[in-house]
Amino acid sequence: MFTRVKSAVVSFMGGIMAGSSGLEHVNGSDLPVRFSYTRPEFLGLSPDEIECSADHIARPILILKETQRLPWSTGYAEVINAGKSTHNEDQASCEVVFVKKKSGVQSTPNKNSSSKRRSSLPNAEGLQLKDNQEVDGITFHYWALFDGHAGAGAAVVASKLLHHHIAEQIPDIIDILKNSAVLPPTCLGEEPESTSSNSRTLTRAASLRGGSGAPGSPSTPPTRFFTEKKIPHECLVIGALENAFKEMDLRIERERSTYSISGGCTALIVVYLLGKLYVANAGDSRAIIIRNGEIIPMSSEFTPETERQRLQYLAFLQPHLLGNEFTHLEFPRRVQRKEVGKMMLYRDFNMTGWAYKTIEENDLKFPLIYGEGKKARVMATIGVTRGLGDHDLKVHDSNIYIKPFLSSVPEVRVYDLVQHEHSADDVLVLATDGLWDVLFNEEVLEAVTSFLANCDPDDPHRYTLAAQDLVMRARGVLKDRGWRISNDRLGSGDDISVYVIPLEHGNRVS
């Protein structure tokens, strides 16, 4: 992510940051940091090891040593950037979370890390650790990747807290989720209907009777008058995840008054709950499933290019957000003053194609979205359009906030794990853009498939080794002209983090 908010940082340095020493205080305050910089807890690194990991010259690939720390024999590897930021701004966390009905949440860590986990629980209130009692609640598995920009603060905070926000969304719906035979009730407290019931569609006569306003006696069951949407169970989980992201973002916003939380981050998470995998993505990390030698994309990226129409429409509705500096229209290139009055290609929020318009004075303003591919920026500032944090991010040398254009809403995709048989070589690959910037999905497929095929099926480290192999392929080796990968292509100078999650374990647990 490091290149994606360059000008934003320039703005911090030149503006608020002038004379200051580090970006941890981008709020211009001396507030304490919420959580200090760290590497993923499951790596179990000492401060000395964390120091070694930040070597921008040799760029050591860190791997998960104790495989039993992560569920399902999940593999993990990461590497720091080539020197653009002091810290590795990617963060990762992985938890098995037990949610109690109604009262409280508990985090059930994996065997060995339990004591560590306990001591580092960010808000110990009401979080007591007990043995799993599935009757009283429900367990979900959680894997997360965060890619920070303009400071590590938001990514660290999200990696420590997002799963708690997910857990908070669950207690009210535990019984509903567990009772798969009955559709979620539309209104809590009313008699639930069985899935087979077709009584929801009422005759026109009945609805007309109802419409006429004749009240039933208090003892008659509530009558419905119109067709009613059937909401499947998985939609409640999707809703819970969407709300959790929103709450996380609001929390970062709130806590800015007490703590310094620098920058923003993308978030890509996977939740396994009741036989299904939910992949929620806000940002430009990516998840793919590799099954039987085929790729199943599980996320899409949110960038100025992919979200152009949403951003243009917002700017069209609320032009003041552009601070009189930008135009919401898109042109193939910057418009020059001498072109006023001429006809030029453009597109508006409601177009995917292009048309000609007469250039006016207003069109000379800087375009809301400018640049192509990885260089595309919103208001010349940020290259990713969904994520958490960034509440203080402004356009360079101005008072124009970027945040209104950013969304914390994830896109959630569902994969029915138990519906499919999986072999030991079928995996879910999650990685930050450091990987995907330099490797195509097909190359990742090819690498993972051939690596796992040549790896002892009983090696407990096989998925971590596959992750290390991917990071190595994306980082490459340092040659005279920088980091190089296969075919002498440029390697990734960005932070790279990769999970390789075997899917056959999902079949086993259920």
């Binding site: 490091f2 290149t3 020493s21 580090g22 000395d48 930021s85 002091t86 290390q468 080796v477």
Partner: protein, 211 residues
Amino acid sequence: MAYAYLFKYIIIGDTGVGKSCLLLQFTDKRFQPVHDLTIGVEFGARMITIDGKQIKLQIWDTAGQESFRSITRSYYRGAAGALLVYDITRRDTFNHLTTWLEDARQHSNSNMVIMLIANKSDLESRREVKKEEGEAFAREHGLIFMETSAKTASNVEEAFINTAKEIYEKIQEGVFDINNEANGIKIGPQHSTPGSPGSHLGGQQAGGGCC
């Protein structure tokens, strides 16, 4: 903890020669009897004193197994010292030294101090490589030489500390450009020039992340 200098070391050599055990003995004063194959890179650190100065050794323990060779090779860069280890009870580990040395010379900076270590000296009855052979190899290639045992701790301290002394002397002689972090040497915080906090040192003392 404050230090005058930080030296980065790398430990290399065939799988099973005792690289991880040497590191563990040096940092934790323990011996690990079972072979826990290193599958990437592991780190250790310890403070030593040379010439009255606190020196922090940052040690990278690499994987000796052939399949990790390209990853291991990529870690030579930016090391000030290397411990090249063979096992006196396995002649093949001695025979492979030339390959290791070529790798090291090709991928590291030319001033890197290399210490040749003949490990497992406690297993005298199973010795396959004579001490003289190791000494001869070291002399021929300009390396320092030492026989050690990660099990009994014999010469382990000396191996790490003598390497540091050699690096320290090279610094005194002005051979190392200590301002170039790619040489595997960092100057401690108390050495940094006033007025330029964190200057070329980059490193961890500088505040938060930046882009």
